[in-house]
């Protein structure tokens, strides 16, 4: 029989590249995932034509289970929770790469070169699955999102990963240190997975999106390496492609926050002695009625969305509000911070969902040029990305480019309560004389403002 697998794999890779290129452009983005999807279906189908494949009675149920759970969960989840879904599905891919490594290593049939590659892939895959699961748990709120730190953390982490790698080396070199070299695989897997969990513990706050992107790149590399170990060209090329693309994306995200990837991995975001910083002024509540009046008598209004808008699902109401203001002849724009929310571009996705026209969205630089002429800035559940503390040396946010909302003439902050932001530090903006606080769920608050506006 002619082997149709390889030609189909070649076409798959071509379609993946075309798909990614199309996904990189807003006009063609949607067809991009279709290209990649069709290619994926063909390459999976083609794999069944590989000669000598058995255990089909196990393969099909496994695919069925994965497909049903994967489809149902991805369909059901709210758009707001997409970041953690990306994290968990990424972790599943990493886990799959590690299982391939495990089987290859148990078999021991290959050259030591292949074992080295499989071990490397397993380390990266193990760190990625544990880290991705941790990111999922943090974003889902099942464990606390704040950085978790303890004494000698870095040292302990280093020891765990070093010992794990040593067991890997013992396996590779057939050295019976402590236990027979074949059994060394068990502590190797346990310790490298454990390191993945430990590594993600101190990372939280605004660094989370970068971390997810990093794990995405790592999974790509793990898949590529395991492809190498089992001599599967499609896995190598697709894995390396994602590894490279994901690395660039990670660096771009880190740059957008003016943080280095190294500093992010060191962790402890928001752990500096911020408590000692004195803030003058007090929080001044305002009623929705007064907000409506302020807005109605403005000539320019800036809307600054953040995670609060996402978690309250307020994007549709926000759109209603902006339509209403525009119909009153008020100039409205949306100031979008690249890392507002839980992922870069998170706000763009939500506002696109609500059908906010593209040309109303201004990026950080454009918005910052415009703030001095803004009468009212409406901050909807954004916190760290508008915190002027980022300009003060020694604060946890120092150096992160922010939206200069404090330069506008008036500021109204919609906020659930008086708590701190994701980074866990006080926001000077909220205490400024020109800032008023509208407390409550963002969706309720905006609905009330709209009601009041109608009465005017």
């Amino acid at each position: 029989m002619i082997d149709i697998t390889q030609p189909i794999y070649v076409l798959t890779i071509a379609a993946f590249v075309i798909g990614l290129i199309r996904m990189a452009n807003p006009a063609t983005a949607r067809s991009g995932i279709l290209w990649a999807g069709i290619a994926m279906a063909f390459s999976i189908g083609a794999t069944f034509f590989v000669p000598g494949l058995s255990n089909l009675i196990l393969i099909f149920p496994a695919i069925l289970i994965g497909a049903v759970i994967g489809y149902a969960a991805a369909r059901k989840v709210a758009i707001v929770n997409m970041p953690q879904m990306v994290a968990i599905y990424n972790g599943m891919g990493a886990g799959a790469a590690s299982t391939i490594a495990a089987i290859e290593l148990i078999r021991l049939g290959n050259s030591s070169f292949n074992i080295t590659i499989a071990l490397l892939g397993a380390i990266i895959g193990n760190v990625s699955i544990a880290g991705s699961v941790m990111a999922f748990l943090k974003l889902q709120g099942w464990i606390r999102q704040k950085p978790i730190t303890f004494v000698f953390q870095q040292v302990i982490n280093l020891i765990v990963v070093a010992v794990g790698v040593l067991f890997g080396i013992a396996f590779l070199t057939h050295s019976n240190i402590l236990l027979p070299y074949r059994s060394a695989l068990v502590p190797f897997f346990v310790l490298t997975v454990g390191y993945g969990f430990l590594m993600a513990l101190p990372i939280g706050g605004a660094d989370m999106p970068v971390l997810i992107s990093l794990y995405n790149a790592m999974t790509g590399i793990a898949v590529g390496l395991e492809g190498f170990a089992i001599s599967n060209y499609a896995m190598v090329v697709a894995g390396i492609l994602v590894g490279a693309a994901g690395t660039i994306l990670t660096l771009a995200m880190a740059t957008a926050m003016n943080r280095s990837v190294g500093a992010i991995l060191a962790g402890g975001f928001g752990k500096t002695q911020d408590e000692n910083r004195a803030i003058s002024g007090n929080l001044k509540p305002i009623s929705s009625e007064d907000v409506a009046v302020m807005l109605a008598y403005s000539s320019t209004v800036a809307i600054v969305p953040g995670f609060g808008m996402a978690s309250a699902q307020a994007q549709f109401k926000v759109r209603d509000l902006s339509d209403m203001l525009i119909s009153k002849g008020i100039k409205v724009f949306f100031a979008i911070h690249p890392v507002a929310g839980r992922m870069p571009g998170h706000m763009n996705v939500l506002l696109a969902e609500a059908g906010v026209p593209y040309d109303l969205l201004e990026d950080r630089d454009e918005a910052n040029r415009a703030f001095q002429d803004v009468d009212v800035s409406l901050v909807i559940g954004a916190n760290d990305v508008v915190n002027p503390a980022a300009r003060i040396q020694g604060t946890a946010l120092f150096g992160m480019p922010i939206l200069d909302v404090d330069r506008s003439k008036n500021v109204v902050v919609l906020k659930r309560g008086a708590g701190k932001g994701f980074a866990g530090i006080e926001n000077d903006l909220f205490y400024m004389d020109k800032t008023k606080m509208l407390y409550g769920d963002a969706q309720d608050s905006i609905s009330k403002v709209i009601q009041e506006l109608k009465k005017l």
């Binding site: 494949l53 599905y89 299982t99 992107s213 995405n216 390396i240 994901g246």
Partner: protein
């Protein structure tokens, strides 16, 4: 089939450059969908997981392989649906315009 020649290195270098080129021109609004899209692409690991389970010869290998196929399928199906849902929003906006 064991890799013996340099062809792999050529493949890897070209793949790195293609990955770099694809991402370096992406507007910020597409960062999230693209991350999700590339997350779907490494779902190709399902191919390897099927092969690993398909060639498994004992129960330990079968058990590990089974878990691998389930996880890889979650990556593929979940990754596709999540990306599709994100990108669907962009289409809706274009239509309204």
């Amino acid at each position: 089939m064991i890799i013996t020649d340099w062809a792999w290195l050529y493949i890897i270098i070209l793949a790195v450059f293609v990955g770099y080129e694809v991402i370096s021109h992406v507007p910020v609004i597409l960062h999230t969908p693209l991350m999700s899209g590339s997350n779907f692409v490494h779902g190709i690991v399902l191919v390897g997981a099927i092969l690993a389970l398909g060639y498994a010869t004992n129960d330990v290998e079968r058990a590990i392989g089974f878990v691998g196929v389930v996880m890889a399928t979650l990556n593929v199906v979940g990754g596709y649906v999540v990306t599709e849902r994100m990108l669907a929003m962009f289409k809706k906006r274009v239509v309204e315009k």
